[in-house]
């Protein structure tokens, strides 16, 4: 009995009128956990009842604590008939189970009914007393932290990144049980909501157990999805990356991502020693291996390679790594071995992360993806989810072998998805093949010298672009050139990845959102015939999506894609493909050639004219785009790169393999790259259509940028104004024009118009950037296309650029240095530990490596690097001071607390939550963002994962404003419930927010509609940087003294 859950029902407000006669309500509350139920008294005749109940205590196993949600039901008491339910609140108490997260859940929760929506609010306090019982056989995994964020959370450092964890649980869908025929829609919806809540609790617990087995303490990049398989059941599956995280002693030691990348980008020294250990080279056509398998039953499975790659997987598996090890220098081989051994222990060397600690990512191979078409069969035994497990294992195995073919041991930015239509299901997985630094993958038992050499030799800003595969045994044909940054290693002409842009990457100009959109008609068919038809279509779709992406990338004058996500959706009579990515110009890669149009009938004069006209249009567009995105590489790149320092060059020549020749060749290769043009032949209508679709993409209006990655390359002066939004459109295709072309045009228009609408709506935020633009396509019915977009608009300051942050840093620098000499020395020592290791080793390690590094003259490194890490360090010190100051203030003066409470915005995180809820307090602002950070603010605490599932149904669709009114209200309600839960946890923001599912079904004839929404994110507490500054100026040097002393102790 290792836990006691305590619940108190305080009050309700804005309850609906349940008694028409008196226009009032006699409300009471049922509190249920597991099989135990408590009830409050009936509060007669009030719409704002004050129950002020006793503490209801549940004594439960921690296993149940993890699985079960707390269920609060508000009812209207009726003497003569059955009590009427007003609505329910489900509270996930998981955040109370880790020591560092929330300690109490307290606040106003919207009372939700699946038929009527939100009906008033209820004030609840929840606490958990956990009794630690470490010796028993563990079924629970209390204490494992979960993060949706796909990078190391801001106030933690990664000690070890263990790797992939996955789990799935299956059950029958209550909606399809026989009992559903006799129960009310409300009962059915509630059964479903409750079941999914239970299943996700169980799933999380099981994943937690796996993490504990791996000796980790957290899951980062946790992604949980539901597959509503209809008749055949309900699958809840999750993937994530197990890590061992350490909380940073100072809660905000590092500037948020919005600042740090910008600084690093600006201040990276380009004369840094490039990686001298070349082992191999080879091309990377980014999107590379797909296999389509279709297996109607376990016994029968078929595989086929897609047409855009000449790769047959199995023969080449392992080749990349094996031969590369031989060819590379001895040091590189060592690295390889180590990585390999670290990774080979794992079944799947996959990482769901998209952003990494500096130095983690060594090389990137390209995108790997696999899809398979399956026929769903009824899940007979929910306790044995083997079939689904086997399906996914198959796909993962494929991904793994694709990565190997690219000479990579690992897959990063990994994700999985499904698309279901009737009994056919497409399983998809994709990621980016990569070579990783072993340092983070195992316990820190590596020899120091290796580690150091690694760090020393890592090329900054271009290393990840260098090809990891063997040049002589390229897995596919591609153009290779020497890296434009270091000029030592080979790079491909384009690079596609599913990860975020590494913070140290050198980018020219700004990036932009690039989408490929595609529809293909398919004959209606049943079961196996249908599945076969789909798997036959898939390779062509992948190929066309890829071509479109490539064309659009060239049209933008860019050479790399980040955050690539290809979604293939299956419908009754069509397949849809939507690929989104952020295009950038990587300084390390060659300038992309233009697009050349070639006609096949050169005799026809008018045709020739037409072609040349098109060619001109395309050339103009490329020129315009280059201007728009500020891509002017020839001058910049030359300047930025400079000439490599002679000494390291010699050094590198020594270790270089014979496959690479002298520097003159390098120069030759460089010039060669520019000549390369992409030829588009428009001999058929398809190509013509391609060209047209290329030119119809309208650039965003002036002042707007968009990307689907975390941050926009080339913009770094974000202001604090953010607006997260969800937009949904459903379009009906008229059945007359169902040809591939018409479909494509419709789909293209739908997406373009949606974007245009967004730009128009958000015009007041200009200059602004839409970040993390996430499109989801579904085909709910014949002829219906639903597109859902979630993104965040962030304003940025055009003029103020970096100056403000710099002066801020400078100020703090000065202050720190004048305060205490000792303090200055500490960071200076830190500097010798260069960027790759920062911010991950703890302070102690820092110093160790610093001392062992002392042989290397610090002067060799550019001061700017030191400067930024120094500044980070400094600001963290100052934060500590401020925090201290704040606690002192809070502790000693009571009135201060009330003042803080009175501030209605709730931005101050130090909210006094034990205080009784004030009836007339305004609602605190809760920010929501799909990003992992909040611009202009520091995340000081992670309060736990938010994972919510809601169903809303109506039988009075017209009265609720039609489908738009219904869904608009529902999404607003979902946002409200997320915000309320975060506020109750004591947080003021949700980061890494994602709407994973929005399934909408309507039946206008019956005046009915139903919608299911699943959202998740991380509840956090953040503090505005400006607030921190104010505090710091209020508490000047005097407060610094004790802290400086503390600093000495740690040194």
């Amino acid at each position: 009995m290792p836990g006691k859950l305590k619940v108190k029902i305080v009050a309700g407000r804005h309850l609906p009128v349940m008694d028409r006669a008196s226009d009032l309500t006699d409300a009471f509350v049922e509190v249920k956990f597991g099989n135990t139920t408590f009830k409050t008294d009936v509060y007669l005749k009030s719409l704002n009842p004050q129950w002020n109940s006793e503490w209801f205590k549940f004594e439960v196993d921690d296993e149940d604590l993890q699985d079960e949600p707390l269920q609060i039901t508000v009812l209207d008491h009726d003497t003569y008939s059955a009590n009427d339910a007003i609505g329910k609140v489900y509270i996930d108490i998981d955040p109370l189970l880790y020591s560092e997260a929330a300690t109490v859940i307290s606040g106003w929760f919207p009372i939700y009914d699946t038929i009527h929506g939100i009906r008033g609010e209820i004030n609840v306090i929840v606490k958990v007393d956990l009794f630690n019982d470490l010796n028993r056989f563990r079924q629970s995994s209390c204490g494992v932290k979960f993060f949706c964020t796909t990078s190391i959370p801001k106030c933690y450092r990664a000690v070890i990144i263990h790797g992939f964890v996955e789990e799935l649980v299956v059950n029958e869908d209550p909606e399809y049980q026989w009992i559903d025929r006799i129960r009310t829609p409300r009962a059915s919806n509630e059964a479903r909501q409750r079941l999914i809540s239970l299943m996700s609790g169980e799933l999380q617990r099981k994943i937690g157990l796996k993490v504990l087995e791996m000796r980790g303490n957290a899951v980062v990049g946790y992604l949980q999805c539901f597959d509503l398989e209809g008749e055949s059941g309900l699958v809840v599956r999750a993937i994530g990356t197990a890590c061992t995280l350490d909380k940073l002693s100072s809660p905000a030691a590092f500037l948020p991502a919005c600042n740090s990348p910008s600084k690093e980008m600006k201040e990276i020294p380009f004369n840094e020693d490039p990686n001298p250990n070349t082992h191999s080279s080879g091309p990377s056509t980014p999107l590379k291996n797909q296999t389509y398998s279709f297996s109607p039953s376990k016994s029968y499975s078929r595989q086929s390679s897609s047409s855009d790659t000449d790769l047959s997987l199995t023969p080449k598996t392992g080749m990349g790594s094996g031969s590369a090890g031989k060819e590379g220098g001895p040091f590189k081989a060592l690295l390889r071995q180590q990585t390999q051994s670290a990774l080979e222990q794992r079944e799947f060397p996959f990482f769901t992360l998209t952003a990494f600690p500096p130095g983690f990512l060594v090389h990137v191979g390209g995108v790997v993806s696999a899809r398979s078409v399956k026929l769903l069969d009824r899940i007979h035994n929910p306790d044995e989810p083997e079939t689904r497990d086997a399906w996914w294992a198959e796909i993962r195995q494929e991904i793994k072998s694709h990565a190997k073919a690219l000479g990579c041991h690992a897959v990063v930015g990994y994700s999985e998805s499904t698309s279901i239509c009737e009994e056919v299901c497409i399983l998809s997985a994709s990621g980016t093949a990569a070579v990783l630094n072993p340092r983070f993958l195992q316990d820190g038992t590596l020899e120091g010298c290796l580690e150091q050499r690694l760090e020393e030799n890592l090329p900054v800003g271009c290393g990840f672009c260098h090809i990891p595969y063997d040049e002589l045994n390229m897995p596919f044909p591609a153009h290779l050139t020497y890296c434009y940054n270091c000029r030592k290693q080979k790079v491909p002409d384009v690079l596609f990845t599913t990860i975020d842009l590494p913070t140290d990457a050198t980018v020219v100009g700004k990036g932009c959102l690039i989408q490929a959109r595609l529809c293909r008609l398919k004959k209606k068919a049943q079961a196996e015939a249908n599945a076969t038809a789909i798997s036959n279509l898939l390779p062509f779709m992948e190929y066309e999506v890829h071509t479109q992406l490539m064309n659009k990338l060239k049209l933008k004058g860019m050479n790399a894609l980040f955050g690539l996500r290809i979604q293939i959706t299956v419908g009754e009579n069509m397949l849809m493909g939507l690929a989104s990515a952020t295009g950038v110009y990587l300084a390390a890669l060659p300038t992309p050639g233009g697009i050349q149009i070639a006609g096949k009938t050169p005799n026809d004069g008018s045709y020739e004219q037409h072609i040349s006209h098109m060619q001109k249009k395309i050339n103009d567009t490329i020129a315009k785009n280059k201007e728009l995105y500020e891509i002017n590489p020839p001058e910049t790149s030359e300047e930025l790169i400079g000439s490599p320092i002679p000494e390291p060059r010699q050094h590198s020549r020594l270790l270089r393999s014979q496959s690479e020749s002298s520097d003159e060749v390098t120069e030759l290769d460089l010039s060669h790259g520019k000549k390369d043009a992409f030829v588009l032949e428009i001999d058929d209508t398809d190509a013509l259509e391609d060209v047209h679709s290329l030119l119809t993409d309208v650039p965003p209006p002036p002042g707007f940028y968009s990307c689907n990655t975390e941050i926009m390359p080339g913009i770094n002066n974000w202001t604090s104004e953010i607006q997260m939004f969800t937009s949904v459109r459903v379009t009906r295709l008229s059945s007359l024009n169902l040809t591939n072309q018409a479909l494509n045009k419709n789909f293209n228009d739908l997406c373009e118009n949606l974007l245009k609408s967004l730009y128009f709506k958000l015009r007041s935020m200009i200059p602004c950037c839409l970040c993390h633009v996430n499109f989801t396509v579904s085909l709910p019915e014949d002829e219906l296309i639903q597109v859902t977009v979630t993104a965040v608009a962030i304003t940025f300051d055009k003029n103020q650029a970096l100056q403000t942050t710099k002066t801020h840093v400078e100020k703090s620098l000065q202050r720190a240095s004048t305060d205490n000499e000792e303090l200055l020395q500490f960071p200076l020592e830190l500097c010798s530990d260069s960027i790759p290791s920062h911010p991950f080793p703890p302070a102690k390690e820092h110093l160790e490596s610093a001392s062992s590094n002392s042989g290397i003259p610090a002067a060799q490194r550019a001061t700017s690097v030191d400067y930024s890490s120094f500044a980070d360090r400094c600001s963290s010190w100052i934060e500590l001071i401020k925090l201290k100051a704040q606690t002192i203030r809070r502790g000693s003066i009571k009135t201060t607390v009330t003042v803080e409470k009175a501030s209605p915005m709730g931005e101050g995180n130090f909210r006094n939550r034990s205080a009784p809820p004030c009836a007339n307090s305004t609602v605190g602002v809760v920010k929501m963002t799909p990003l992992s950070f909040i611009p202009g603010a520091k995340i000081t605490k992670y309060l736990g994962i938010i994972n919510m599932f809601f169903i809303r149904e109506t039988t009075s669709l017209r009265e609720e404003g039609g489908v738009s009114g219904f869904l608009h209200a529902f999404i607003a309600e979902v946002f409200a419930m997320v915000r309320a839960h975060v506020a109750a946890l004591g947080g003021n923001a949700v980061v890494s927010y994602i709407m994973k599912q929005c399934v909408f079904m309507e039946n206008p004839n019956k005046n009915q509609a139903q919608c299911l929404i699943n959202v998740s994110g991380d509840a956090v507490v953040f503090v505005r940087e400006s607030d921190l500054e104010v505090v710091s100026t209020q508490h000047p040097t005097a407060n610094c003294q004790p802290l400086c002393a503390g600093g000495e102790v740690t040194t």
Partner: protein, 364 residues
Amino acid sequence: MTSELDIFVGNTTLIDEDVYRLWLDGYSVSDAVALRVRSGILEQTGATAAVLQSDTMDHYRTFHMLERLLHAPPKLLHQLIFQIPPSRQALLIERYYAFDEAFVREVLGKKLSKGTKKDLDDISTKTGITLKSCRRQFDNFKRVFKVVEEMRGSLVDNIQQHFLLSDRLSRDYAAIVFFANNRFETGKKKLQYLSFGDFAFCAELMIQNWTLGAVGEAPTDPDSQVDDMDVDLDKEFLQDLKELKVLVADKDLLDLHKSLVCTTLRGKLTVFSEMEANFKNLSRGLVNVAAKLTHNKDVRDLFVDLVEKFVEPCRSDHWPLADVRLFLNQYSASVHSLDGFRHQALWDRYMGTLRGCLLRLYHD
């Protein structure tokens, strides 16, 4: 290709002030889109008409959902569904409760009942304000009236507290409630020249001086029937006003009053002779208005009487406003020198307010 469903939901609810105004003014979505197109927004932003249509629909839907909350503004502050910055909330409320001058002049002093609501069609035609907007404004009046009608305490404060309106707007609503409760006639042709501001000014003076709340002594027994202290005129005071009749009924007193006024004002008025000639008529008019206030019917005609008995005669003699002020000051002050008159306090309470009202009402 038609959009079946098209929505945009922000974590912070987007409010477009221009669209809000169009919505408040009662335009349909298509009219609003047409008006927006005419405003040149398409050229400014490079958007298409379809984008504008979708945007307008979205905003209208949001406003429609917000309307329920706007009916009880404190709910808007406490609700969790729409995250709206406080300044925007204030703007939403203030604009929602704002009204058109033309409309308020039509219904001021009328009973806020179903009967009046039926006349909104005519008002809409007459004023050119859309019927929808008329309904909103009428319903606002009625809603505020219902809430504060029975409430104790200051009318303005009550309105401010329950509807979170600005001070200015709360005062206007206080006037509307006061007029509606006392059913003052404002629609007569004679009164057409008066603006809502004129009436609101008078209402404020009357609330301050002529109601029960004005006496300043809150009833000791909370259960006593004098609940709505600021909304109803002080009945006792109105009864007492009969006592003033002696000022015109007693000929000596009237003559003495006249001579006192004339002596002081001689040479100071440009219209002295007209004043002297008209004094008895004017005084009779003013005192008779007071004496008649015991009857509800005459209370309703207060403004008609004031204009008929005082404003019009003066205006026909072309009194400048400064002269009216001098006269009224002297007229009320001289009464203190009338030894035979015992109701000085009553006279001041009556005349103090009336003087203010008359000065405000005296214009073209």
